[in-house]
């Protein structure tokens, strides 16, 4: 016991303890952290089909082996989530030069999108497409999601996800039409001007809570027409466009009744 007591006061004790603590957290994290979610491992056939699609549609900008060109970045290591998000929202293949790649009607169906994602994922490890369960709004806590959304996303996307302006012609799009999977992938991969929210900044549970919150926003507004949920400016416009003009209309009618 004496030795232990003396050892506790040893000069190096803090260092040793620190190292042990770090090791311990590392081991626990490795054991508990969700493994990169891969719904099911893609077959070789899928990867091959994806490669064909990629060469036909994407290689002009991203290069024959997705190594990147002057027209598009390297995709090695961006992961299946990024490809799935970019292709499913119609952002890729990208149109001519714009401040930001706009979402368009997607050009590929879900199966083809999965093949493209599988191909790019086979080039280097990256975040995978989330599982059904990871994005199920019913399992999330909308109230907590609201809190996280307001501190992390609302400054760009508005408090209910109605969208907002960024500098130099860029903008954060409205989130009303994004599927839960796209929402998750957007957070995970941070498309363009949007920051990446990896699992250390927002845990998978936090992400699911955000999804639950945003799905809750799609319920009809309890107060009547939501008027775009753009806040006081649109309310002011409507106050004049409807209230004021109807009332002045009535005033003109009353004034005209006498003369």
């Amino acid at each position: 016991m004496k030795a232990l007591a003396a050892g506790r006061r040893h000069r190096l004790a803090p260092v040793v303890l620190m190292t042990l603590a770090l090791l311990f957290t590392g081991v626990v994290y490795a054991a508990l952290a969700p493994s990169p979610a891969q719904a099911e491992t893609p077959s070789a056939g899928e990867v091959e089909a994806g490669e064909k699609l990629f060469i036909a549609n994407c290689s002009t900008c991203h290069g024959m082996n997705a190594q990147g060109t002057d027209h598009g970045p390297s995709l090695i290591g961006v992961g299946a989530a990024s490809v799935h998000f970019q292709v499913a929202t119609g952002r890729m293949p990208m149109d001519a030069n714009q401040p930001q790649a706009e979402a368009k009607p997607p050009q590929f169906d879900e199966a083809e999108t999965q093949q493209l994602a599988a191909y790019v994922a086979s080039l280097g490890a990256g975040p995978g497409i989330p599982s059904e369960e990871q994005v199920d709004p019913a399992l999330g806590d909308a109230a907590n999601g609201g809190l996280i959304f307001r501190t992390n996303c609302a400054m760009c996307h508005n408090a209910v996800g109605a969208g907002g302006a960024l500098t130099n012609g860029k903008h954060a799009p409205p989130l009303y039409d994004s599927t839960p999977t796209e929402l998750y992938e957007a957070m995970l991969t941070g498309p363009q001007s949007m920051p990446v929210f990896n699992d250390a900044t927002l845990t998978p549970d936090d992400k699911r809570d955000i999804i639950a919150y945003l799905m809750e926003q799609r319920e009809p507004s309890p107060g009547g027409f939501s008027l775009g949920a753009l806040g006081p400016v649109s309310e002011g416009l409507w106050a004049f466009a409807i209230g004021m003009s109807v009332l002045i209309g009535f005033a003109v009618w009353i004034g005209a009744r006498s003369s």
């Binding site: 401040p99 909308a142 109230a143 999601g145 609201g146 809190l147 307001r150 501190t151 609302a154 400054m155 760009c156 996307h157 508005n158 408090a159 209910v160 969208g163 907002g164 302006a165 960024l166 500098t167 130099n168 012609g169 903008h171 954060a172 919150y213 809750e216 926003q217 507004s221 309890p222 107060g223 009547g224 027409f225 939501s226 008027l227 949920a229 753009l230 806040g231 006081p232 400016v233 649109s234 309310e235 002011g236 416009l237 409507w238 106050a239 004049f240 409807i242 209230g243 004021m244 009332l247 002045i248 009535f250 005033a251 003109v252 009618w253 009353i254 004034g255 005209a256 006498s258 003369s259």
Partner: protein
């Protein structure tokens, strides 16, 4: 011109008569009633704008009283119950004020309806006040003897803004907190006393725990009380001065043409109250407004996109957004001009100009006469142009306050919009001023033409001499009266700089400055038609009116093929 009010012939209820008699012998009620009932009120739609403000204020009082019964003006911390709606708020930490607002929206019957009615009524109240003020301004209704009432009205506007801002801040959501944060920032930017002002307002460091209870007192007691008292003064002054009227035949500076207050005007006004109430209630029932549960409880670290004040405060937001960052350090003290100029100085200047305008105009034009007939805006070109220029500044500021929405909805870069507005802020008022003035003169010239030559009839006539003329139809008395009755003051005349002996006159420089201002107002002008001109034009007009003796051909309008039909008389 009072339309006779026939007292109903049927026998009055004896109990009523007794009560009336009681009041009459104590306070002389019959005299007061008679006096008021026989006041004449002219009829024009623009005279009802003030009433819209009045009625929306009444709606505000009624709905607001309901809200006070469920609102808890406290910043104490609480957690929203986990079994109450909306789901997005369950268990969330928030202030009592915010929790009670949400609770009242979801769990008090009629609560959300009342909240929405209250908020729409507030937007319309200030809106109606502004539009009412515009009508007073552009028709010159603020001139002597009504300058004081303009000041009362102006104070009402300020009170309306204060009521709106304090109410907007009560629910303690993210938007109201942001608004208060800006108010705090503006207070802090005031030199020397800034931090004391801020500490005094918030009872310590922002946000503290005091501001909501304090704002509550301001919002439900102080400001409405003042508004109520000022409205009483305002209405009393209207009755005292009698209402102005638009120029027209039979309407002079000495009479008022219209309907007696009772019963005709009362019936109309009463009906209008229900219309205003109805429109606001419909808006409250169908259009959501200020859905505070979406914004979340106030948290100083949260700012969401699209965070803006209500429309009547948007000009302030806009001026803050337009101003480039500017700061000077004097002897270790920082002067944040970036907030001081747009947040204090600019609104101060704009509002001072607005409040004092009747006095400014009177001083400049030296017009001290009484005016009970309104100006047609075109006939007071400089005033109309000044007003339009003022509105231009205001619209630019409002646009700048909504720059992010303009960016997303019209797909333009935010930076570009900001620069455009910065330029417009200086250029647009000047251009608007000049263009409006030109338009007014154009209209005046048109009126002059019309008064002198009458309406064009489209009938073209050729005389035997080969001359073509268009037949003009002279105006009837009434029409002509409207066009020629106004006067058009000339700029101030002053004595020459030197007196008869060639000695410099002492007061000359000062007089010359006033003359310059007067020239600014009246230099460009178009004389209204004088009786002499009219007589001259009419003798010439007879000529226009087809001398029956001369032979002529007429191109009739039904002559679609355009041939000339020969007709000899």
């Amino acid at each position: 011109m009072t339309a006779a009010t026939n007292a109903p012939a049927e026998k009055a209820d004896p109990r009523l008569a007794a009560a009336a008699d009681f009041l009459d012998t104590r306070v002389g009620i019959s005299k007061i009633v008679k006096e008021f009932a026989r006041k004449i009120f002219p009829d024009h739609w623009s005279f009802l704008l003030g009433e819209i403000a009045l009625y929306s204020f009444i709606v505000l009082l009624i709905s607001g009283t309901f809200l006070t019964m469920f609102f808890v003006p406290s910043m104490a911390e609480t957690h929203y119950p986990t079994d109450a709606l909306p789901v997005t708020m369950q268990g969330v930490q928030m202030s009592e004020a915010y929790a009670s607002t949400i609770h009242m929206s979801f769990h008090v019957r009629g609560g959300l309806l009342m909240r929405q009615i209250h908020h729409w009524a507030a937007l319309l109240f200030v809106g109606a006040m502004v539009v009412h003020m515009l009508r007073i301004f552009f028709t010159g209704a603020f001139r002597r003897p009504r300058e004081l009432n303009w000041l009362v009205g102006f104070t009402l506007l300020i009170m309306g803004l204060l009521a709106g801002f304090s109410g907007y801040s009560l629910p303690d959501d993210v938007l109201s907190g942001n608004g208060l944060r800006i108010a705090d920032g503006v207070a802090l930017a005031i030199p020397i006393i800034g931090s004391y002002v801020s500490f005094a307002l918030f009872g310590g460091e922002f946000p503290g725990d005091d501001i909501i209870p304090r704002l509550f007192t301001v919002h439900i007691l102080l400001v409405p009380g003042l508004i109520l008292a000022l409205i009483a003064v305002h209405l009393f002054l209207i009755v005292w001065h009698k209402h102005t009227q638009y120029p027209g035949p039979g309407r002079t500076q000495k009479n008022v043409v219209g309907f007696p207050l009772f019963p005709i005007y009362t019936a109309k006004a009463g009906g209008f109250f229900f219309i205003v109430f109805g429109v606001i209630a419909l808006m409250g029932a169908t259009m959501s407004i200020n859905s505070v549960w979406n914004y979340g409880p106030y948290d100083p670290s949260v700012v969401s996109a699209g965070a803006q004040p209500d429309w009547y405060m948007l000009f302030l937001e806009g001026s803050l957004r337009l101003m480039p960052g500017l700061e000077v350090v004097i002897g270790g003290f920082t002067l944040s001009l970036a907030i001081l100029i747009p947040g204090v100085i600019l609104p101060g200047l704009l509002f001072t100009f607005l409040g004092l305008y009747p006095f400014i105009e009177r001083a400049v034009t030296k017009d001290t006469g009484e005016h009970h007939l309104l100006d047609r805006p075109r006939n007071a070109a400089t005033r109309t142009a000044l007003g339009a220029g003022f509105l231009a500044v205001w619209f630019v500021l409002i646009g700048a306050g909504a720059n992010d929405l303009i960016a997303t909805h019209f797909n333009v870069s935010l930076n570009l919009i900001t620069w455009i507005f910065r330029i417009l802020f200086f250029v647009l008022p000047v251009v608007t001023f000049l263009v409006t003035k030109r338009i007014c003169f154009g209209l005046q010239r048109k009126d002059r033409e019309l008064a002198l030559h009458g309406h064009e009839t489209g009938r073209i006539v050729r005389f035997a001499s080969g001359e073509f003329i268009e037949v003009h139809q002279p105006l009837d008395e009434y029409e002509r009266w409207l066009l020629v009755s106004h006067d058009s003051p000339a700029p101030l005349q002053i004595d020459p700089p030197e007196d008869a002996n060639g000695v410099a006159r002492p007061g000359y420089k000062k007089e010359r400055r006033w003359q310059k201002l007067s020239q600014f107002f009246y230099e460009d002008r178009i004389e209204p038609v004088t009786p002499a001109e009219l007589a001259a034009a009419q003798s010439h007009g007879e000529h226009d009116e087809l001398p029956a003796t001369e032979a002529h051909e007429e191109i009739t309008s039904e002559d679609s093929a355009g041939q000339i039909e020969a007709r000899t008389h």
